[in-house]
Symmetry: C2
Amino acid sequence: MSSLTETATAGPAARRLRQKEETRARILDAARELFVENGVEATTMRAIASRIEYTPTAIYHHFRDKESLLAELCALDFRALASALQRIGAIDDPLERVRRMGIAYAEFGLKNRSQYRFMFMTPSGQSMMDSNLVQKNNPEEDAYFFLVQTVEEGLKKGLFGPEFQDEHQLAQLFWSALHGMVSLHIAKCNDPWIEWRDPMATIRLSIDVMIRGTRRHHPA
Amino acid sequence: MSSLTETATAGPAARRLRQKEETRARILDAARELFVENGVEATTMRAIASRIEYTPTAIYHHFRDKESLLAELCALDFRALASALQRIGAIDDPLERVRRMGIAYAEFGLKNRSQYRFMFMTPSGQSMMDSNLVQKNNPEEDAYFFLVQTVEEGLKKGLFGPEFQDEHQLAQLFWSALHGMVSLHIAKCNDPWIEWRDPMATIRLSIDVMIRGTRRHHPA
DNA sequence: GGGGCCAACTTGACAGCGTTAACCTAACGT
DNA sequence: ACGTTAGGTTAACGCTGTCAAGTTGGCCCC
């Protein structure tokens, strides 16, 4: 077991590595807290550092820059979203699964507004994917791909109308409708200009409308 | 005509006022250009000022702060959007009008991405409305209200299914679906993670799906 | 077991940001 | 002719993300 050439899981070198990982994690935690409390742009490197009693510069030994740090946080939350949706995967009927996934997605977005904003409402140079924390086309980590799969299953079962052939287009259709409700509510919910209705109620209605609008008509 | 108590449209005082308005307008123009070229957060007060050969401080004699300046720009574009949609008001069938409005809206958003981002994708403390440049509930200036009116007309004509009663909820349903497509495309169109389909094609499809999903079923 | 080394972390700074106080000046009203 | 004021400038403040250089403490190897 304790050969000389083993990949170190014990010993001083391993401890140092573990310590490094731990401070990395502490940085991420502190960043997430401030991020959620005050929003992205109000979260400064100095504030993150001082919360864990480090110097701002220390962060740069663990992350290339602020955007990388946030991108990594973002990727973690995205995986959390994916695994939340995954738990709905058990439902048989693809359409019902789309409904439930949509509701779970919207709830996630409305509960984690800061993260949602950074994930989907901010053009961010680099993708979440290239942190290697999220495996593209793995349904357990890539929520979009999971939706595409579900839609594809619906297509194969002939549940959708004949003008819908492309699983990506159809997935983007569903996703966009939900994202529109969630993101508008996040960006403008305090704007007196719009007389907002209860967002979850409208979202449920929206999903039903989308399903009814794409479903194949009964041959009766 | 030239009474002593007239509201001055000539004379030195009026000229000064006109000059002030003019430099105000030049600030707005310069801001818009940079804003469109480089995006919101990359547009600095100093850059705006130097483009019109002024000092940064000069801007603060015309606008309270950066956000106010951008909010005013935003309000102007919002009026432009409203009047673009207005030109579609001539179409008789409310549903067809919704279709055409949706397409025009999406085209506007995809063509004016920087403005769209600031208008609808950014939580912005103050509303566009409180600059008094956009009159709420005036369909010629308030594009949302124009949509509500159109939806209301459809409701009165009994074009929608019985579960749709609330013109605001229905308007938010349509708007959100469009906003979702436009905003996701603006934020993530360069992200290799998603295999994007042609946005306008998907938007047209989306509108048709929404209309089919909300329309009252033929009594045949 | 002591010398070299390297990684984690700090110090101190830089450039640029939005914004403000103090001043300056030319044109206005009286 | 003169005080006032509006429109503009100068210089600065406090903040941001970021980096070059220095410090320190523990590991590795001879």
